[in-house]
């Protein structure tokens, strides 16, 4: 698998890629996020771990505005997500403006969510052609290159139902990369995979990390976090319990809740 680097837009430096300030999220009466403050720097691989229901997936979905935050501020590349601020008033962005913000943020889902009525190649071509109005030829050329790089050059014409879980997830990564995002969100990308297929997806992600992509990864793969991650955050019950370098947090957790969680998963 060769370098994925050419598809990564050079990240503008000087400010964090993602900045969360006191982010809260409630679904009705359920208070899911209770004040998240964190920063993700460009080219950083940022891992989020924690028990299920801790709010890590919800936080990830707030970053590309699939969920609206209830309080606080969330910035991607110095731009407020989902809102525009004029004076001290917040204005909701129009649907097309939200869509424009999302173009710069790729997302990979636990359940792949490939479009089942399109082939692998069509899945990867869809957004560039439909959203960026690229010509089919240009989009096809890039899609073929991306599929080659995730090791699926020989599966272009296959429909998702004809691919294994690991192959589907690699197509999904290629589909997200086709929009040349400056940030990639991974929502438990290997949790729905058979154990023997996890490695091939993690290899692609490792490759991407080496090429300098900014990545936020919600994961249960502690090995991946330790090896590839630059920072790691342990979340529980809607708050950040512990943050630091993955090696430090995983081998020498300070907080009791982190210790008890790690003792169960490691």
């Amino acid at each position: 698998m060769s370098s994925l680097g050419k598809d990564i837009a050079p990240s503008t430096t000087g400010h964090p890629m993602v900045r969360a300030e006191g982010v809260h999220k409630s679904f009705g009466l359920a208070h899911i996020l209770k004040g998240i403050d964190l920063e993700v720097n460009p080219r950083e691989v940022f891992c989020l771990i924690g028990p299920s229901g801790s709010g890590k997936s919800t936080f990830l979905r707030c970053i590309n505005h699939l969920e609206k935050i209830s309080a606080g501020r969330l910035y991607v590349d110095n731009e407020l997500v989902g809102y525009r601020q004029r004076g001290d008033k917040l204005y909701e962005l129009k649907e097309s403006e939200v869509a424009a913000q999302r173009r710069n943020i790729g997302m990979v889902f636990q359940r792949f969510n490939l479009f089942p009525h399109m082939t692998a190649l069509e899945n990867v071509m869809e957004a560039p052609v439909q959203v960026r109005r690229e010509s089919k030829a240009v989009a096809r050329e890039r899609a073929e290159r991306l599929l080659d790089r995730v090791g699926l050059g020989d599966r272009k014409g296959h429909y998702p139902a004809q691919l294994s879980g690991g192959q589907q997830q690699r197509v999904a990564i290629a589909r997200a990369l086709a929009m040349e995002p400056k940030l990639m969100l991974f929502d438990e990308p290997t949790s729905a995979l058979d154990p023997e297929l996890v490695g091939e997806v993690l290899d692609v992600m490792r490759d991407l990390a080496e090429d300098g992509m900014t990545m936020i990864v919600v994961t249960h793969e502690m090995g991946f976090a330790r090896e590839v991650g630059d920072s790691l955050v342990f979340m529980d019950d809607g708050v950040v319990v512990e943050a630091g370098h993955p090696r430090d947090v995983l081998t020498n957790p300070q907080h009791d809740r982190t210790k008890s969680f790690l003792s169960k998963v490691l």
Binding site: L66, E95, N113, F115, E126, A161, A176, M179
Partner: protein
């Protein structure tokens, strides 16, 4: 990663074939005989009836009947197209977050599904009672001149169909996994694009079978358009029987044509369903033609009984 194929070498000498005496199904023979007996009795009853069967083949290709078939066919297709387009719009309106549009759509379905088609047809035909003059600004005419039997039939059948189609389309849209919408939004696609490119194509798999059913229903419901003087099959058959007095015979002629039309469209439906099954199953089921060809090939190289797979 690649499909593993069972590479166990087949034994060169096949094991001895089992030659057992199959279970006898006496019940099937009894039931079959009973069915034949009943059919024969019904057949005798019909052939002894005072029906002049001899005229049926002649009238089957009569010019008046053929024009009725053509009218039935095109009013059904046009009404169905109108129903389909309006049905999609109504379904999207119904599911929209805008309370005005969703209420309008709900009310439309409530009204057009809740009143008889015959009444709706007659209402359109007599719409000049309500609006004697049609004034579109650029076009103005007496409503009586505008509301031809064709237009009354099209509006009556099509607008009624839209109410049913909107419920079918809505069920189809709701059957598509939410993750599809999320993935599409995450790629930066707008609501409209997501609906057109991602949701509707997948909803089609759920929408097509009941739509085929609706169309076949429409072929026969269109006979109600005789009430607004539209020259469809039943009206034409009655026109003939009013002079030839072959009333029942003409209904037989019409029924044979309805059977032919529904059969043709049932076959078309099979192929359309197959097309929209793309991607939902690994291998599409063979078409009847492919199955026939395969069976012929098997038959040609028949050596030993095929082992059930």
């Amino acid at each position: 990663m690649t499909d593993t194929v069972d590479k166990t070498p087949a034994p060169t000498v096949p094991p001895e074939q089992i030659k057992a005496i199959p279970v006898r199904h006496y019940g099937r023979w009894v039931a079959g005989a009973a069915v034949i007996a009943i059919l024969v009795l019904i057949g005798i009853a019909f052939s002894n009836a005072k029906i002049n069967y001899g005229v049926i083949p002649d009238y089957l290709t009569d010019g008046t009947i053929l024009s009725g078939v053509w009218h039935t066919l095109y009013i059904s297709v046009l009404a169905m197209v109108l129903g389909l387009v309006l049905g999609v719009i109504l379904a999207v309106m119904r599911m929209s977050s805008n309370p005005v549009t969703s209420t309008v759509a709900w009310f439309y379905v409530w009204f057009f599904r809740g009143t008889p088609v015959l009444v709706q047809l007659l209402l359109w035909y007599n719409i000049s009672l309500v609006f004697p003059i049609l004034n579109l600004g650029f076009y103005k005419d007496e409503m009586n001149q505008v509301m031809t039997p064709f237009l009354a039939a099209l509006l009556g059948l099509g607008l009624n169909e839209a109410a049913y189609m909107s419920e079918i389309v809505r069920a189809g849209i709701q059957s598509v996994d939410e993750g599809q919408t999320e993935a599409s939004h995450a790629l930066g696609m707008t609501q409209g694009k997501t609906l057109r490119r991602v949701v509707l194509p997948q909803a089609m798999r759920v929408i097509v079978p009941p739509t085929g059913n609706e169309f076949i229903n429409m072929l026969k419901t269109s006979s109600l358009a005789y009430a607004v003087q539209f020259n469809e099959l039943i009206k034409r058959a009655q026109d003939i029987s009013s002079t030839s007095l072959a009333v029942v015979e003409m209904f037989f002629v019409a029924s044979i044509w309805y059977l032919i039309l529904t059969t043709v469209f049932s076959i078309a439906q099979y192929y359309i369903e197959r097309r929209y099954a793309r991607g939902s199953s690994r291998n599409l089921p063979p078409t009847p033609l492919q199955r026939l060809r395969k069976n012929l090939r098997l038959f040609g190289s028949f050596r030993r009984p095929e082992v059930a797979r």
